[in-house]
């Protein structure tokens, strides 16, 4: 079947749309996660999602909805609680992770929740996305884009030097908490595409590649978006063409793209060093 023929299937159109939104826009939050060293935070948010899903099951509510609300609350509270306890945000994340995991298992035991139902929030399938999933993705993507457009300089200052940002009048803790919230929501909706374990392919890998080749925030964001699209849309098309598993193919495409960027950057660096030596 040709690629064009896939457009007759609504599930493919939804999957393609989700790939574009996630790879092209949600991946941008990865820049903040990598630069602000928030990589451990995403584990905390995933476990908070598990707790939210468990509570939602007890209340006969959508586990995915419960997970998203829990991620939003956790992401927003993480920074202020770490500040109150005078600990690093990453350490606060570890506290949230173990605490929410223990609470979730306590609920499994006490309320007799089938654990696998709650763990379902960790799984994702890009071909099983509903219209509601696409709307959630689109809303979070618009929020991410709007924040970047409106607060570009504030974000640039925070990512460059948060101490300097504070002396110039930026409420750095508020900006950090907003970044955590948006990262949490992006992770939450991106998990629906490839699952929790492979979500890094969408959120982290494009940013890691872009930070190697970008010369400033704008070029890093553009490169992240392009690499993200290569990973998600490329992975989706490859998986369909060769009948490979979707989540894994998207992830491997992301790894391949990052590998190519790293090798090319390394060659460019070597050539530049060689040219400088020659010039001397």
């Amino acid at each position: 079947m040709s690629i064009l023929a896939y457009f007759n299937y609504p599930i493919f159109v939804r999957a393609l749309l989700a790939s574009i939104l996630a790879g092209g826009i949600l991946s941008l939050v990865g820049v903040a996660i990598v630069v602000l060293n928030l990589t451990t935070i995403r584990f905390a948010l995933m476990h908070i999602a598990l707790l939210g899903a468990s509570i939602a099951i007890i209340l006969s509510f959508s586990p995915v909805g419960g997970a998203m609300i829990a991620i939003a609350c956790g992401a927003w509270l993480l920074g202020p609680i770490a500040d109150r306890l005078k600990i690093d945000t990453a350490l606060g994340g570890a506290l949230f992770m173990t605490g929410s995991l223990a609470l979730a298992f306590f609920l499994f035991y006490q309320a007799g929740i089938p654990a696998m139902d709650a763990f379902d929030v960790f799984t994702g399938n890009i071909l099983a996305l509903t219209k509601a999933d696409i709307y959630s993705l689109a809303i979070v993507a618009v929020v991410v884009l709007m924040l970047i457009i409106v607060f570009y300089r504030e974000i640039q200052l925070m990512l460059y030097n948060s101490e300097l940002a504070e002396t110039l009048g930026i409420k750095s803790k508020f900006v950090r908490n907003t970044i955590l919230l948006v990262c949490g929501l992006s992770l939450g909706v991106a998990m629906r595409l490839v699952g929790a374990l492979l979500v890094d392919a969408i959120i982290l890998l494009p940013a890691l590649g872009a930070l190697q080749i970008g010369t400033g925030l704008t070029s890093v964001l553009v490169a992240t978006s392009v690499l993200g699209l290569f990973s998600t849309v490329g992975g989706l098309l490859l998986a369909l063409k060769f009948n490979w598993p979707l989540g894994v193919t998207i992830t491997l495409t992301g790894v391949l793209v990052l590998g190519i960027v790293t090798i090319v950057k390394s060659i460019i660096n070597k050539v530049q060093i060689h040219n400088r030596r020659d010039a001397k």
């Binding site: 300089r153 200052l157 009048g169």
Partner: protein
């Protein structure tokens, strides 16, 4: 009118008093030095002047305006440029030009108000003043310690502030940097006539109008060229 007037100022963290009933007046165009050991509260003092920490007691008056409310703090930040010990903290690639342009934040641009041509022109002028116009496209991560400090100075100059606070300007510089940067700072201060407060824990090759020692949370003026802290 004094550029900076501090009356009976006290401040501390966790019941530990760092600034203890301190008073100081700095005239417009004056250049003073505050010497003190590490942990004496020098940077904390600067952050109080910038309105980042509220005093426990006393008053901070900048250019005749007491710094109490949010709008006063905005006023303080508009009129004071802070030059921190510049370090490359993050992983974000940023050019020297962009890093200096950030100094115009709150004055030339903020939120939806984007940088204007005048902001960019001001950056070029400031880079020229510190002799870094040729390095404007270089990544900040590739700068030497001395270049980083000169860039931080340019970022303070683009704020067009009448008061400049220098926080350990020669710390982590090599021998030539320790000799050259103070001369540059001094010539800029004479040319632009801004009020300047320099804090340092080491001997610095600059002539100041007055020199103080910060110890036990209080300032004591010294006439000794090489006070006992060294």
């Amino acid at each position: 009118m004094d550029a900076i007037k501090v009356e009976d100022l006290s401040f501390g963290f966790n019941k530990q008093i760092l600034i203890n009933h301190l008073s100081l007046s700095v005239k417009k165009g004056e250049s003073i030095a505050i010497l003190g050991a590490n942990g004496a509260g020098k940077t904390t003092f600067f952050k109080i002047l910038l309105g980042l920490y509220p005093p426990l007691t006393g008053k901070v008056i900048i250019l005749g305006r007491e710094i109490k409310r949010t709008e006063d703090r905005v006023f303080a930040r508009e009129n004071i440029a802070y030059v921190p010990q510049e370090r490359v903290l993050g992983k974000l690639p940023i050019t020297v030009f962009e890093a200096v342009l950030l100094g115009r934040y709150g004055k030339g641009f903020k939120g939806l108000k984007k940088p204007h041509k005048s902001d960019r022109d001001a950056v070029l002028v400031a880079l020229e003043m510190v002799g870094m116009e040729k390095l404007q496209k270089r990544d900040v991560a590739d700068l030497s310690g001395g270049e980083l400090q000169r860039m931080a100075l340019a970022r303070a100059l683009v704020r067009d502030a009448s008061i400049i606070l220098l926080d350990e300007p020669i710390a982590h510089l090599d021998k030539s940097g320790k000799e050259e940067l103070p001369l540059l700072i001094q010539s800029l201060q004479k040319e632009k006539k801004f009020t300047m407060v320099t804090i340092t824990h080491e001997s610095i090759n600059m002539a100041f109008d007055r020199t103080f020692i910060l110890s036990g949370g209080q300032l004591k003026e010294t006439t000794n060229e090489y006070p006992s802290i060294f």
